[in-house]
Symmetry: C2
Subunit: 547 residues, 2 copies
């Protein structure tokens, strides 16, 4: 494939993409010194320069699909198909830079209603076509890769036209949203009625409601608003076995909670078309601030105290020493020399940044909850940095995905991964994953930069989110990351869950089997057979193909 552009970078700075992504010249120099960068790098290739294989969609299927959704909503151009050829994992971005190993769907189908989704599924069963549901395309685990499995063709089922608020019940505080609605639009529309969903994952700017449900998403403010699965009261799901409506009440004892099969089903057990979510009044009072705590262990203890005293801020995010140092170095927001002096004066040797954010209806609630949090933090060696760095974090909180593209321009291998476990296993889990990543990526002179933060705390445990930056191995960039990821997953297995909020997709499949065991794997396969007997739904994701 064409489109490979090489240019020399050492010492240079290409401001266009980098500056747009909020990366300063200083930040790039700091990184170059810290992890080393290759001389020659491969920048993004515009989609228009990539080639797509010709569509394998049979003519009869095309005709039927056009009949179901309308001619303008069955797209087969290379650009449209390439645009739904994968998600936002580092490996997706890498593949799109070279054009190699990109799985391209044979068509993009855009249904306009839940009924049309059902008709498309029925047609795809008849024509033996694989269906990959596509929302914001932000999967970082291969969840939207256009794999066809053993089917004759594969379509991307882009749900972007399912973008309506179906209903809003202000008394029960329940909004029924169509699955293709983007989170940004949901917030805007709900704000018009004085409500918020309060779900702000890093993918917020692109992700959709259906994607949140299908992947068990968790947002940056989920300590306050709950994980997305906590918010879902009901779902409407199209399956080859027929439509499925789940969720009759806020809570029920009517057998197993089957909603929890639809939530996290990643398009492999059905296509979520509508989601009834709990909404809350839009906050009128907001306060974000930051403190520094001395040492990761002390920081973890502090967050545990907040969680177990039920005094968590809506956003509660603790960075380890490495991430804190990088934030001080990379961010223009925190006056790091002043901070260093202050830290020294307080005797803080291992600074860990803790961002706390409250979003409340009343000022009293904010005051009381903040006071409770500060009480829980008392008696530790800490430094309060005030609101400026807290606000700065809030303002830049969706920037990382953009920065990743820019960093890749500079030859950085950059990816994230995450897990969760009980409090008593959290320190060991972090050490094990760090060690595995460092060992795997320590190929050159300079070690990789492994940063970690705790961003979702529960009474019994918390999540850990790792950001990995290393000099890219230009000889085998894909293999470099695959090895590192496998090492991290091995370290996680038996110590925590293979993913706290990134879903399974293709990437976590080998480790999911070990997490849910032989019986769990058999149960998932049985459910799959019941709802999707011919296996058209998102083959190769979540559930291993039948042997």
């Amino acid at each position: 494939m064409s489109g490979q552009i090489e240019h020399t970078l050492r010492g240079s700075w290409t401001p266009a993409g980098a500056a747009a992504a909020g990366l300063s010249r200083h930040a790039v120099r700091w990184l170059a010194n810290r992890i080393g960068l290759p001389d020659t790098v491969t920048p993004t290739v515009p989609v228009s320069l990539l080639n797509a294989p010709s569509s394998a969609l049979p003519a009869t299927a095309h005709t039927d699909l056009v009949d179901a959704v309308g001619e303008e909503f069955v797209l087969t151009s290379a650009a449209e198909r390439l645009g739904r050829s994968g998600g936002m994992a580092y490996l997706d971005l890498l593949r799109r830079r070279t054009g190699e190993d990109v799985a391209v769907p044979d068509a993009v189908v855009l249904p306009g209603s839940p009924e049309q989704v059902q008709r498309v599924l029925d047609l795809c069963v008849r024509h033996d076509i694989a269906v990959v549901p596509f929302g914001g395309g932000t999967s970082v685990v291969g969840g939207v890769e256009a794999l066809r499995g053993d089917k004759t063709a594969v379509i991307a089922l882009d749900l972007c036209r399912l973008d309506r608020v179906v209903s809003l019940d202000p008394v029960s505080r329940i909004a029924v949203l169509q699955a293709g609605m983007r989170a940004v639009d949901a917030e805007r529309l709900l704000a018009g009625h004085g409500f918020t969903l309060g779900h702000f994952p890093q993918s917020f700017e692109r992700a959709t409601i259906g994607g949140f449900a299908a992947t068990r998403s968790s947002g940056q403010a989920s300590s306050g608003y709950g994980r997305f699965d906590d918010m879902v009261q009901a779902v409407r799901v199209a399956t080859p076995a027929g439509e499925w409506r789940l969720g009759a009440a806020p809570a029920s004892a009517a057998g197993p909670d089957l909603r929890q099969l639809a939530i996290g089903s990643e398009g492999a057990l059905g296509v979520i078309t509508e989601v009834a979510v709990r909404v809350r009044p839009a906050p009128r009072h907001t306060r974000y601030e930051a403190v520094v705590i001395d040492g990761w262990q002390a920081g973890v203890e502090a967050v545990r105290a907040l969680a177990q005293q039920r005094a968590l801020a809506d956003v509660t995010r603790l960075s380890d020493v490495e991430e804190t140092a990088a934030q001080l170095a990379l961010s223009g927001h925190i006056p790091h020399r002043l901070v260093r002096a202050l830290l020294r004066s307080k005797g803080i040797q291992h600074p860990c940044l803790l961002v706390l954010g409250w979003e409340t209806e009343t000022r009293r609630e904010l005051t009381q909850r903040r006071a409770a949090a500060l009480r829980a933090l008392r008696g530790r060696r800490w430094l309060r940095l005030g609101q400026r760095p807290g606000k700065a974090w809030r303002e830049s909180r969706f920037a990382a995905p953009r920065q990743r593209d820019a960093l890749m321009d500079f030859g950085v291998c950059v990816e994230t991964l995450e897990t969760a476990t009980n409090w008593s296993g959290l320190l060991e889990l972090r050490s094990a994953v760090r060690t595995a990543l460092i060992r795997s990526l320590q190929t050159g002179v300079q070690p990789p930069l492994i940063m970690c933060h705790l961003s979702h705390a529960y009474e019994t445990g918390a999540s850990l989110y790792f950001t990995v930056l290393a000099a890219r191995d230009e000889k085998d960039p894909v293999g470099q990351w695959q090895k590192a990821k496998a090492a991290a997953c091995e370290a996680i297995t038996g110590r925590g869950t293979i993913t706290h909020h990134h879903a399974v997709g293709t990437d976590h499949l080998p480790w999911l089997d070990r997490e849910i065991g032989q019986v769990g794997t058999a149960v998932l396969a049985a459910v799959k057979r019941a709802v999707d007997p011919t296996g058209i739904l998102n083959p190769g994701k979540l559930i291993r193909p039948a042997q």
Copy 2:
């Protein structure tokens, strides 16, 4: 069957059972006037007077079971088998009064470890024997009825020997408890370490940890401590397909939450042997109080305000006018003449009792949460009754099951049922169920007494719990209740969930199909086939037998 004893009651009061159950002479007179009572009633028959059919357990199976668990733990006496012949539903109690239609297991098997449970299941598969897991025996929906389905025999698998604390992690605040441990013992053992589970359903005095998980139990303090399914972090389940361990972290995005298939599985998808639950510090400060609000609708609005402002007390329980009147009349705790005078002076015409209870670690938390609750209640026509009736409610909160037995001695048809829905549908749901019950039970001169309370509130809705008291139709007492229950279930269907915390068992099965739909029913059946291919597990409960 023998054992039927008839005696005349009108005007008399048999203090033995009634007084022991906390029923005063005054209360019985009030009831007799209110609903009318039959002249002749059928009192409890001691188990020793009932006959059990002889055990159908094949000798080879008996030998193998003895080999698996030990001779003293395979019981075949009539008394032991009759003791596990059903739960605590009104119809169970009725049947045990006449000895008719009692499904008696062929043996009672008491495994001593999860491994022994697994061996027993394997043996029962080999010998084609149905297995009914038995905990506290408090099911009110037929969940522990010893049905054999198409199997040659049926055993009650009594889990009472699985009564250990497997581990307690005070850092993560997670206790791993064996499934047969009684809630009372769990609380006692946890209290020794300064912790509480905080799960207090009305069945508390008899129910077990495994039963809570298997039925998605909800406790009286679940507004504060959460429903039992909220507390479960992990489960260990024995199935004919092998052992299943679920739950690797406090939260996960590793596909569908399969724990939620084990929770609520009612013994039909496996035998829960261990449950890892979140515990909390035992409360040091407790305050229970009661207020009266004018009118059911105003009361519901008040509780909704509490829930949506996240100011619920740990116990928040609102009685409707009928239940409030009965409580005033039946309880010796509330000085009802004084209260009536006070209500008149406040202009309260439709008094609805609201019990609020807080259980906190610190006094400050109690003060702040109570103040928040009182703020949310402000601006309504109400009367504060102080702590005495609140404490009285707390002290008698597990008495109702005992009182039911005593009421049955007086010829009362007494049963409860419950549901839940969104706030905007709650008033209609109550009216519809009330109307259905009154129509069905209004056979004599006096109308039945239908009382209702709201005891579990969520941001999006709440549960409704109905207590039904009617003069028993001695000609067809079973049919009388079956008709009333069916009428109530029809009223619930389409308006709410068929059960908020009583599970499905046999009683709710026809309506479960309508709640989860054709796809949901097919999914449950598929899961059943995967974990229990020959269908030995609790046949006829939760899942309709394959046709």
